[in-house]
Symmetry: C2
DNA sequence: CAGCCTCCTGTAATCGATTACATCAGCGGC
DNA sequence: GCCGCTGATGTAATCGATTACAGGAGGCTG
């Protein structure tokens, strides 16, 4: 038994042809009952497992989906990928993952080599000419790019930013700083736009610090914030990581949260509720996002219908914890100078 | 161009046979220079990409590795998987991921269907009879199981626990509590054994709370700790997550870290250095672990030599931050009662 | 010039499954 | 008894690449 069991071996063991074995396995209904039992017994006895390459070649579909993310090391993607894997696994599809920043040629090879039936794309910054040229069904998730002309799923980032601003404004804050994400990122844009909208609607003037999604960017923003003469009393950061960095650095500089500054994050990563202080943040239902995107893709693949167009937007949900509190600006102003 | 470009199309465009195209692509050295140029031009002109299923079938190797992890949603795996993907990508191998807890039959199908050349196994709790029966090269990573009889790579968990104990003992702590991981987990055992060893070597009596790796387990452990009449002054937890939960809950209960209790975590996850207080913890070089395991597997695959046996153990490295400090037991004891 | 070797390229078998088509048994109706 | 139909199964072509083997061109040696 050193060599792999082939369908012909099963056929021989069951005393039928390979066609019958194949049919028994893929559409049991059309073979005779007694034959089916014999074949199943032979399959069990030989320990036969289908050869994926041969099936894929003949059927011209690999029964797999490809997940492309800009940075697999980012903890944000975990639950998303886990959910995709879960849905795909249920449907009998394999999951391949790749770094979407691997380089154009490598990416083309990965996508075009026929190893995947469909793609979940978590990166909005690839070359649109390349992406548009892909012949597989693609669904964008979290990030998006209008130039891809592809369907997508994400939370309503602009609305989320508005919710964040309104929460802070309701607490009495009037000087609100937004630590924005990377300038070229679509999420940064949407969140920043929502921030500016909501501030305008409240009659407040927006203040923006060009930051990033990382802990380091948050820490740097804290320094910038600390150096402002008349410091904003609230900060809305582009991500939880950024908020963590901001808060940690604030403590290091001698400030306290929310006493000296209220902070709202974005994402509600696993850890946000256990931070000190527990972080008020916009929740991203990552498992749900992954599941929903995967389900949409899988059902399109199974029914062989196109994915459809347009974006599904999930309404934002603010989780209020302890990093935000009512503005104590008057009190602070006395002690400040 | 609606249908996929095949090797025959390239051959026709270049005016050569399919064999020559294949040779040009896989071993350019053996075709004539002028021919090679013509073929390359034809490949570029047609946009040809090799069909993976056909190649895999003929070559009998899928050029892919499979990563099996017990819980993909766990943030611990991110950097490991990213590193594996990086190494594999460089070598032209695809990466497939699956949940190792998907169920025996599904797992068997995934492993045996011939989609992968080798496996990185992050789960030490699968049925040994199943794993031993796999015909692919497998390397265990982080977790291990002697009954698999497979090579592996991990940090020296027992030594790490000893380092943690020594650090605390050097700070003057004599009452040290270990919040252990899940009882059936191999990492829990190794860390606990190392803890007990080191305590014995120091002439201290080990105290153990049966906990877990999660934030919730840490929080529960904090309650248990708080209820001890004569509380240990230091805690060594099974994981960073557990430490976070422990510390958060301590604050909620009115204790401070490290003032009232020193805490050491395990893993040094991304976030540990930015926690409040920054967490003293055992560093797990996750990117390195992933890279090294992948390199060992890839090189075995490329040279077609067996993986070899035995475990590679990486020496532990303690990162000292601010969640541990010298024992102030005498001072505390005065105020305690 | 024969003989042989090297270098390059083409022909065709092959990997292991799927499936269109052919075949055959059994049955019912006229 | 003949025809046609249905349902079950076998035969063999096929998916798209790789590669063993064959063959031809050109050069070198004796």
């Amino acid at each position: 038994m050193s060599t792999r069991v082939r369908i012909a071996d099963v056929a021989a063991a069951a005393g039928v042809s390979t066609a019958t074995v194949s049919r028994t396995l893929s559409s049991p209904g059309i073979v005779g009952e007694e034959t089916r039992a014999r074949v199943m017994a032979a399959v069990a006895a030989t320990g036969y497992r289908i050869n994926a390459a041969a099936r894929d070649l003949r059927r011209q579909q690999p029964r797999a989906i490809l997940v492309l993310a800009p940075n697999l090391a980012n903890t944000f993607f975990n639950r998303i990928i886990a959910a995709i894997q879960d849905v795909a696994g249920q449907a009998g599809l394999a999951v391949q993952i790749s770094d979407s920043r691997a380089g154009t040629d490598m990416l083309e090879t990965i996508v075009q080599c026929g190893r995947a039936d469909g793609i979940v794309l978590l990166d909005g910054a690839l070359r649109p000419e390349m992406v548009r040229n892909w012949k597989l069904p693609v669904i964008q998730l979290c990030e998006w790019n209008d130039d891809y002309a592809l369907p997508g799923l994400q939370i309503d980032n602009a609305a989320a930013a508005r919710v964040a601003v309104n929460h802070l404004a309701d607490l009495g804050h009037t000087r609100i700083l937004h630590v924005a994400g990377p300038s070229e990122n679509v999420l940064s844009h949407a969140r920043r736009a929502g921030f500016e909208d909501a501030m305008a609607a409240r009659g407040l003037s927006p203040e923006i610090h060009q930051g990033g999604f990382t802990i380091e960017a948050g820490a740097a923003a804290a320094h910038a914030w600390a150096n402002i003469a008349d410091r904003p009393t609230a900060v809305f950061t582009a991500s939880d990581e950024c908020a963590f960095g901001f808060i940690s650095e604030c403590y290091r500089l001698g400030f306290k949260v929310p006493r000296d500054v209220s902070v709202i994050g974005f994402d509600d990563v696993d850890f946000a509720g256990h931070f000190l202080p527990p972080l008020t943040t916009i929740h991203q239902p990552r498992a749900r996002l992954g599941r929903q995107a995967a389900e949409r893709l899988v059902s399109a693949l199974q029914s062989d219908t196109p994915l459809g167009a347009g974006y599904d937007q999930i309404p934002p949900h603010l989780v209020i914890r302890s990093s935000t509190s009512a503005c104590s600006a008057s009190k602070r102003r006395e002690t400040d100078r």
